[in-house]
Amino acid sequence: MVTAPLEDILSKYEGRARDALLPVLWDIQTAYGYISPDAARAVSHLLRIPAADIYGVISFYSLFSDQPTGETVIQVCTDPACGLAGSDEILRELCAELSIDPGDMTPDGRWTVRATTCLGLCEHAPAALINRRGSGAFSHAPITHSVDLLNGTEKPHQGILGGQTNIFLSGTDGQRRQTLDEYGDYQGLRHALNSLTPQQVSAEVEASGLVGRGGAGFPTGMKWRFTWQAPFQPHYVVCNADESEPGTFKDRVLMEHRPHLLLEGIALCAYAVGAQQAFIFIRGEYPEAEQCLRDAIREAESAGLIGDRVMETDFSLHIEIRRGAGAYICGEETALFEAIEGKRGFPRIKPPFPTTHGVFHKPTSINNVETLCAAPGIVLHGAEWFRPWGTIKSVGLKLVSVSGHVNRPGVYEIPFGISLRALLETHCRGVRGTLQAVLMGGAAGTFLTPDEIDVPLTYEGLQAIGSTLGSGAVMVFNDTADLRDVLRRLARFFAHESCGKCFPCQLGTQRQMEILERSDHALPGDRDRLSDIGFTMTQASLCGLGQTAAAAVLSALQKWPGLVEA
């Protein structure tokens, strides 16, 4: 094992500002397995950041540690999809094999084993993330034997893809990354640079009806237009690749297989909003996807498709990857900006909105991976090309991530409007066993009962039955699943991921978890307690995390009141 001396790491960041904090901490964490007070002090001098602030950042992010960790750190996902697939048992076996408790390091310093939240490998459940000191991370799924994790028998995952594959998944077989040769020229970008003004690009995207695919559904072209119009300079583009919603893994699949589609989408967005700098903020749990993006950026730069004077025009664009460090909250756009700026991922008060006050408090268009991937086709073929798919209100094709008890879990590209039943029975080749429940939209979503699955998969269709499409996560539970156990895992997830900023979420996620932990032997009044906590988090929390942290629980209690006795 070779570790770079601290001086070598620090010298890379000479003269940089605070926004280099997460990158330098990642280098130290990878080299040493933890960030010592001495290392933090050295970073404090280098970047001129108070030592207290650095400690605050280290202790905020799950993938940073201020205590030594083993040479290999194994993190086993215990969220619903992996939990159903037996990850608790694997974690137990692993700890028994090494004679440690979850969270601990072996006395010889070789291993640390702990539970973690969703790794975005739900179609391969159960999954683990393995960090080897000095050489970085890789993921491992499915885990068939706990001992494979110790033997280092690496099992690279392949995509399980299907559906219409016209826009997002075309030209990929799920085996590996599409190279630039296979992807071809950035035709949409070339068309825009040669024939369209930035305003025309936004107008085309606005006319297509494309809305944000991260879950909030804001009209994309409008966001681009607002950013273009913002009077202060510079403007930025941020790609939100912090996909961390349990049950959602479509963005991982896109980045692993079609990185050039994403880079072209980012370039179009940058042209439309007048930006020369873009960041891709990718979660630290996606090492393979990050590598695919790095390789693709290198290819695109050498081909002159990004960089200075793109395609020999006056348009220049630099794309930088920023790696998250283990915090679901950083999928919230303003918390993501804080992370890029080298701070704890606390969400900001809105307004002001990112289109005027985004990263570095400059005008920023922040878009989800899938949203940006829709742009090249729309710009190349025109808005009308996108509209025939879907419905009037839900336009185009959509990626959905299906996990849990179906015969073929995976990422499917579907036209809006097909029913949930058709998705499960046709694309996913049916439910394994007897259907009990479907969780739509991930941990922040809502439960459906078996008699609700004829609902059309559209924003308006799901809204009409009080549900949500969210990011397109579909988690399927058959009658062997213990829904109380599922709720406990969801509640633990939110308690673990609450940032701690506002009182309703910081206190409410903890109390919600405690009550659900005892739901097999509920106390009198527990259902009312959950109802008050859920009401308060939903209405009074500062950001989207708290506002949705009770959604799944409240919907389950409405449909299956017996889950928590009154």
Binding site: A52, G56, I349, F503, A540
Partner: protein
């Protein structure tokens, strides 16, 4: 300055069915004060940046989907604000009940008044984890009892760019287990603290307390107080 003669633009809105006119930029919290409809708040302090943390000041604005923090939201023409309807009261009461179940509020008189005003059930969350911390007595000037800390952030803010630019304080961990800390939890004298005392001044509970006050409460003799506050003797809990 000549500009000062320009008339200030005013905003007219409705608060609890009463018309209110205030200068542009006034928050709902301040506007409600002008008609003596006090909106309760815990984290808010005149001297520190409002962050909308405690959400006890939330109000209903135009019947919107989300309740809004009155300490931050500026008044706008035509707004219809309810400061005490059922949604608002249910949220406030639940926040207060949860807070009381987590934090030792015995020495926080303003919060105690609120708990009484809202007639909260002080035993609402049985069997729940409390935030308990060891008393930190590591310097001659003040003691820190984070079991009484309700995370209003005022101390962190006055230590940083709201006042002192000393940056001795930060947050450790996150979520329910967030706590105020120095870098790597070192003792205060080893931190960048300059003992200006501003954090003690803005603390709304007994979490930060002058050492003399602490000593008097614990029946220290004059000699003990002198011993403990002038020599900086460290006393591990």
């Amino acid at each position: 300055m000549e500009n000062n003669t320009e008339p200030v633009k005013t905003i007219t809105l409705t608060i609890d069915d009463l018309p209110v006119t205030v200068p542009e930029g006034t928050t709902i919290l301040d506007a409600a004060q002008t008609i003596d409809h006090a909106i309760p708040a815990i984290c808010y302090h005149d001297a520190t940046t409002a962050n909308g943390l405690c959400r006890v000041c939330v109000v209903d604005v135009n019947g919107g989907r989300l309740l809004q923090p009155a300490c931050i939201l500026p008044c706008q023409d035509g707004m219809v604000v309810q400061t005490r309807n059922e949604r608002v009261e249910r949220s406030r009461r639940t926040i207060l009940e949860m807070l009381n179940s987590a934090v030792d509020l015995a020495q926080a008189p303003t919060v105690q008044t609120l708990l009484d005003d809202y007639q909260i059930d002080r035993g609402r969350f049985p069997g729940s984890e409390r935030r308990e911390h060891v008393l930190l007595d590591d310097n001659p000037f003040y003691v820190r009892d984070y079991s009484q800390c309700l995370l209003c952030w005022r101390c962190v803010q006055v230590c940083a760019d709201d006042a002192q630019y000393t940056f001795a304080l930060t947050w450790g961990d996150r979520g329910f287990h967030t706590h105020i800390s120095t870098a790597f939890q070192v003792d205060m004298p080893e931190s960048s603290c300059v003992f200006c005392g501003q954090c003690v001044g803005v603390c709304p509970t007994g979490a930060l307390k002058p050492k003399i006050e602490f000593g008097l409460e614990h029946g220290w003799s004059l000699e003990q107080i002198r011993e403990n506050t002038r020599r900086g003797r460290k006393r591990k809990p």
